[in-house]
């Protein structure tokens, strides 16, 4: 079953009076439970592709279906709702809420959903914190954590709502190789355990061994899909 279907996706950016095409007609599908890596050199359109799938950027042309919903024609409120309920994000620079501790950061999306009890919220957050190995840091603020620990918090937060898809843009870019490998191992374990679809972009060939499927981009077009 396809969780994502992309047809003729195009994205142009306007730089002054110049139109710069970032994606020039991308077609591909992602099956549910996939662990897919998007690779390519800088400027190839990896981040743009992930941003459009994640409903944080809008396509210039083409269609994107997430689950059974066509997202390119949705308004801001609707796409925000999709982000909350169907998509988890892991950013390159971790992006945690600085004034909340580890547990509160992980709970944050669940509290936004307003459909879980306090006990249920806490239980799910603690289970994921344990899964990412941060039990001893539960009351620590982001500033008191290392880069790897922050990324683990981000992974726990991305998974806490049980999304259909987790998008990770260069999740290991700011980590040393050992930590980066640990993070990908963790993501892979979550993928296998929760059957969550993971799509991550990278230009680090060392992490490709984790990917089940690889989509290679170049100049805004898919040049390899295996």
């Amino acid at each position: 079953m396809n969780i994502i279907e992309i047809k003729n996706l195009k994205k142009d950016y306007l730089l002054g009076k110049t139109i710069v095409p970032a994606l020039r007609g991308v077609d591909f599908v992602v099956e549910q439970g996939a662990f897919l890596s998007v690779i390519g050199p800088s400027g190839s359109g990896k981040t743009t592709l992930l941003n459009i799938i994640g409903c944080i950027d809008f396509a210039t042309a083409g269609t994107v279906k997430v689950g059974d919903q066509e997202i390119t024609s949705m308004n801001d409120r609707q796409v925000t709702d999709i982000r909350l309920h169907k998509i988890g994000f892991i950013f390159q620079t971790f992006n945690l809420i600085p004034v909340l501790d580890v547990e509160e950061n992980v709970e944050f999306p669940l509290l936004l959903m307003r459909k879980h009890s306090r006990t249920e919220t806490r239980k799910r957050a603690r289970a994921l914190i344990e899964a990412v190995g941060l039990n001893d840091y539960i009351r620590h603020k982001p500033a008191e954590l290392s880069g790897g620990q922050r990324q683990r918090v981000a992974i726990a937060r991305a998974l806490v709502t049980k999304p259909d898809i987790v998008l990770a843009d260069e999740p290991t870019a700011n980590l040393d190789s050992v930590t980066g490998e640990q993070i990908l191992t963790l993501m892979k374990a979550m993928n296998e355990k929760e059957k969550t679809t993971f799509i991550f972009s990278t230009h680090d060939h060392n992490v490709l061994k984790f990917a089940q499927k690889i989509v290679q981009l170049k100049d805004g077009l898919i040049v390899q899909n295996q």
């Binding site: 981040t47 941003n51 994640g54 944080i56 950027d57 801001d76 409120r77 925000t80 709702d81 982000r83 909350l84 309920h85 988890g88 994000f89 950013f91 390159q92 620079t93 992006n95 945690l96 809420i97 600085p98 004034v99 909340l100 509160e104 944050f108 999306p109 509290l111 936004l112 959903m113 937060r157 709502t161 843009d169």
Partner: protein
């Protein structure tokens, strides 16, 4: 909401410097507003009590043909219409159980004629001294001379009016047979002590729209000083009602008693050396007389064979004091109805309307203060907007990430509003509480003043600010307004931060 307030509170603590700047501004605004409201409310109460207890009571009756309700401080020269039927009005007032006192008075402007210098101006209040003292027993102190005896002709000059007479006419007024009290001299009069022109009598000529007035010479019985708001009440020289009527050219009780036609009275009062005035349009107009002629005036001398019924003559106003607890507007309306039923061609207005701008003074000053506070808050809003906008721009990755993980724009808006509201609640609330404490503590210091301007602000001679629930709610409302006004633009910035902005920052 718990999450929003948690984030808001921690952000306040995280950005202590900015929070403190915003907090101090809100604190000062709320503190000053609360104290200002207290002082103005005290002034309003003070002026109200002063006008009611010392000058005109709760309500005033005017002649039906009097155009303006504002009869106390009319433009100089615009006369107040006379009331000729006080005897009938009196019956209505006597039958009203809500009325504690009433006092018919003459009230108009007059010229002060002078053989030694230029003419002066005065406001005259014509009263029966005994009745006046009964209605306003404690309104002024006699600083020189004495209070007039019953039915005695004479005038009480306020110290304020005496100063004006000296400033404009260069004459220092004294009570009859009185001596200069050195301590009561103004600095200018002290400087000119040796050459002071002293007078213990005044010649008044009423100022009426139709010029049908006469001049009357009266002895000065005393110099008075109002206990508060001397700058207002000090304009009014208090004259016995009969002399007042004569000066204004009204029928006096004496004339009524003698049943002599008014024209004949005027002729009888003419001085022998001015017989040519008999052939003028008005036998009693003296506005263009030369000083030499004024010198020949004789004091009004009258022998009253029988007690006069003062009520029979003309008045201009009737001051009314009510028993406490009566509703003013309702009472005025009821009384108007009664007077109308009797076809008495008069109307009743409340002291606020009757005293014109003075009655609304508190409201005017409150408006000015409100404008000042709005200006202060506007400055505060600009500073807060700037600070919060900077904060929003600094927090783009954080806000963008929140949006990315599913926070709607409304969440971001509420987060900013909560941060400002918490600051406003803490610092503004502290300002209001401390302001209220200050207002409640200030009267204990019994701060008094003799300065006319300060007396105006105090609403009397003692600073006695008060604070009522309405003023506190007003301050809270203003704080809320500042909070809302301060967050509109920063919220606009924050709401427009997209998840993409956070990614681009990366």
């Amino acid at each position: 909401m718990e999450l929003i307030f948690k984030i808001a509170w921690r952000n306040i603590l995280r950005h202590k410097g900015k929070s403190l700047v915003i907090g101090v501004i809100l604190f000062l605004g709320a503190y000053l507003m609360t104290i200002g409201n207290g002082v103005i409310a005290g002034m309003d109460k003070g002026i109200s009590e002063n006008i009611i207890n010392s000058f005109m009571g709760h309500m005033v009756i005017l002649a039906g043909k009097e155009r303006s309700d504002n009869v106390l401080f009319k433009i100089y020269g615009k006369s107040v219409a006379p009331i000729y039927n006080f005897i009938q009005i009196k019956k209505v007032l006597q039958d009203d159980s809500d009325i504690k006192y009433f006092l018919p008075v003459g009230k108009n402007a007059a010229l002060i004629l002078n053989e030694d210098s230029d003419m002066g101006r005065a406001f005259l209040l014509g009263v029966d001294f005994k009745a006046y003292r009964q209605m306003f027993p404690d309104s002024f102190d006699i600083i020189e001379g004495r209070f007039p005896k019953e039915n005695e002709h004479g005038v009480l000059i306020p110290a304020f009016a005496r100063k004006e007479c000296y400033d404009f006419m260069n004459i220092w007024l004294l009570p009859e047979n009185g001596k200069v009290v050195e301590s009561n001299l103004t600095p200018e009069a002290k400087e000119n002590r040796k050459d002071l022109i002293l007078k213990d009598q005044e010649v008044f000529m009423g100022a009426r729209d139709d010029n049908a007035t006469a001049d009357v010479r009266v002895g000065i019985k005393g110099i008075i000083k109002y206990k508060a708001l001397n700058a207002f009440w000090g304009h009014f020289m208090i004259l016995d009602i009969e002399s007042y009527r004569e000066a204004l050219g009204y029928f006096s009780a004496y004339e009524k008693g003698e049943s002599v036609p008014r024209e004949s009275q005027a002729l009888l009062n003419l001085d022998n050396s001015n017989l040519e005035n008999m052939f003028g349009e008005s036998a009693v107009v003296v506005a263009d007389k030369k000083r030499e002629e004024i010198k020949s005036f004789k004091p009004a001398v009258r022998v009253n064979a029988a007690p006069l019924n003062l009520d029979a003559g003309a008045y201009n106003l009737v001051f009314i004091k009510l028993w406490n607890g009566a509703d003013l507007e309702e009472k005025a309306s009821l009384l108007n109805k009664k007077l109308k039923e009797k076809n008495l061609d008069v109307r009743v207005v409340t002291w606020k309307k009757g005293s014109g701008v003075i009655g609304s003074l508190a409201m005017i000053i409150k408006g000015i203060l409100f404008g000042f506070v709005i200006f202060l808050f506007l400055v505060a809003v600009i500073i807060i907007v700037n600070t919060l906008s900077m904060a929003a721009l600094e927090r783009v990755p954080e806000i963008g990430m929140m949006r990315a993980v599913g926070a709607q724009k409304s969440f971001i808006r509420n987060m900013f509003v909560a941060e400002t509201a918490v600051l406003a609640g803490i610092f503004g609330g502290l300002g209001i509480i401390l302001g209220a404490v200050t207002v409640f503590v200030l009267p204990a210091f019994h701060i008094t003043t003799q300065n006319d301007m300060l007396q105006l602000l105090y609403g009397g001679d003692v600073l006695n600010p008060i604070l009522n629930a309405g003023d506190i709610f007003l301050a809270i409302g203003q704080l809320a307004l500042v909070t809302v006004a301060s967050v509109i633009y920063p919220v606009h910035i924050a709401k427009n931060i997209t998840p993409l902005d956070a990614v681009v920052r990366d």
